[in-house]
């Protein structure tokens, strides 16, 4: 079984491969990881910003961009101060054993102590790895921001994103990718590219945020249609393309597996489109643009943990089912429960991440076309479920606490007049569009 955790571990010097041993740079692997990093950065800015920005009202589109820029700035700097260390430092971890460091990395690499960005780790300069992983740490909180869009104070949002990155993202990323001795690695959970650490994590945090924050004023009484769907579809397309950097890059290597990951990622997206289009056609008579874009992303969320472990057929089924589940969550469940998840962070990333994580345990089985030899479906489904439940509970609790704390300290919401006038003018002195 080739898991990203193991590869990551190899990278981090826990185990050693020929390359790591010799400390030589492999130019091909490095070339790809440089490229993958660029695409993951592009997913966030402009990809996610456009995807989100098009759906909010014209008076709030800049607030999305400012949040993403500033949180990228803050997290980028925090990443080299302590984030990287919290995720990758393996001090105190022993394969199969549980300790404090099964939950979060140490601070031995804080301020990049002892790290030479030019030195090779598994054939790639460590500086490239630092930025590749930083890109994940930047985009995950940015996804959360979609849930509280159009009503959160700018200062509160930045504070939240920084704290959430520290107390939710970094630990969960460590539990998943920290290598032998990390919680979910010990459990044997399968999560290739971040279904748990990225999608369930951000989705659940989004749910917490929109519950604590409350609905937008007048929601859903007054229609709030997307102000510019061309932006949204452009952003979704960039997310789709960038997702290959995300999924394939997560292997941290260029080997035969990249062929499988690329194919599965693409099929997940394609099947996701078909799933959503089908559901819309059945329920409304016609597929919509926002729908098919959402379907593509739902499929991609679903295939993220599975992409190296399943066959092409499994990828199609996962894309299809995740898309249908997200469709149901967003068009039905959300309205039934009445929370106001502005950009459907929970419906897309939370629900999609959960469905994808569970289905990974199923379709990874060789009998269903998967690649994980010797997998016991029943046991694996349990492990997957455990990792899902753990992430939900941990993330819900921590996110809630952080939000309450900020609300108590500086207040979470803008005043109603500012919300009505729009955050662009009231929080940033700007209008996106001027005649």
């Amino acid at each position: 079984m080739i898991s990203r955790a193991l590869i990551a571990a190899a990278f981090l010097g826990v185990s050693s491969t020929a390359h790591a041993a010799t400390g030589e740079i492999d130019t091909g692997t490095t070339a790809w990881l440089l490229t993958a990093t660029l695409f993951v950065l592009m997913m966030c800015l402009p990809g996610l910003a456009l995807f989100y920005g098009g759906v909010v009202r014209a008076k709030n589109v800049l607030s999305i961009f400012v949040q993403m820029y500033v949180s990228a700035g803050v997290i980028g700097v925090l990443w080299v101060i302590y984030g990287y260390s919290l995720v990758v430092d393996t001090t105190g971890m022993v394969e199969g054993e549980y300790s404090f460091n099964s939950f979060v990395g140490g601070l031995n690499k804080a301020l990049l102590a002892g790290v030479d960005p030019q030195a090779a780790a598994s054939g790639v300069p460590e500086g490239v790895l630092i930025v590749f992983l930083m890109a994940f740490a930047i985009i995950t909180p940015a996804i959360v921001a979609g849930a509280f869009a159009e009503r959160m104070k700018f200062s509160a949002s930045v504070l939240f994103l920084a704290l959430w990155f520290t107390f939710c993202y970094a630990p969960v990323a460590h539990m998943v990718w920290g290598g032998p001795g990390a919680l979910m690695v010990n459990w044997g959970a399968l999560d290739f590219a971040g279904g748990t650490a990225v999608h369930i994590n951000s989705g659940v945090a989004g749910l917490a945020a929109c519950l604590v924050l409350g609905k937008r004023t007048n929601y859903p009484r007054i229609p709030m249609p997307p102000h510019n769907l061309v932006l949204t579809l452009t952003g979704a397309s960039m997310l789709w393309v960038g997702w290959f950097g995300f999924n394939i890059g997560s292997g941290l290597a260029v080997n035969g597996q990249v062929g499988l990951v690329m194919l599965n990622t693409q099929l997940g997206a394609c099947a996701g489109i078909l799933g959503w289009a089908l559901m819309e056609t059945l329920t409304r008579g016609k597929p919509s643009a926002l729908g098919v874009a959402s379907g593509a992303l739902a499929g991609l969320v679903g295939i993220t943990p599975a992409c190296a472990f399943v066959g092409a057929g499994g990828a199609i089924v996962i894309g299809l089912l995740t898309s249908v589940a997200c469709f149901y969550a967003i068009t039905d469940l959300k309205h039934r429960f009445g929370y106001d998840d502005t950009l459907d962070v929970f419906g897309l990333h939370g629900v999609g991440g959960i469905v994808g994580a569970i289905l990974t345990g199923l379709f990874a089985a060789p009998s269903l076309g998967g690649t994980v030899e010797g997998l016991d479906i029943g046991r694996q489904l349990l492990v997957q479920t455990a990792s899902v439940v753990f992430t939900i509970v941990y993330c819900l609790a921590l996110s809630w606490a952080i939000l309450k704390l900020i609300d108590w300290a500086i207040g979470l919401r803008v005043v109603q007049e500012d919300e009505e006038e729009g955050l662009d003018i009231t929080s940033h002195h700007e209008s996106a569009y001027n005649a």
């Binding site: 007048n218 007054i222 009505e420 006038e421 003018i425 009231t426 002195h429 700007e430 209008s431």
Partner: protein, 112 residues
Amino acid sequence: MKLITAIIRPFKIDAVREALTEAGVTGITVTEVKGFGRQKGHTEVYRGAEYVVNFLPKIRLETVVADELVDQVLAAIRHSAGTGKVGDGKLFVCAVEQAVRIRTGETGVDAL
């Protein structure tokens, strides 16, 4: 017939439309406009260049109604469009000498 022109806050449009429908109005034409008045504007800043924006987004709503409906319509708009804060807007009434429905050629109150 009278033309009633109302300048109102953008987010009040749906409430006003409902009130007007109830008052028996069957046709409305609205325009996005910018208004300057007592309500104070805001400042925008782009790379240090400050612009005071005095013109605020408003909706201009027009409806031509029979004379006997005027008071009712004015009241309906007043109640549905008001927030009590500066900037709620105005109502203006002008005389309309003739109205024609393009489709049928009907004229006068029948055309409304």
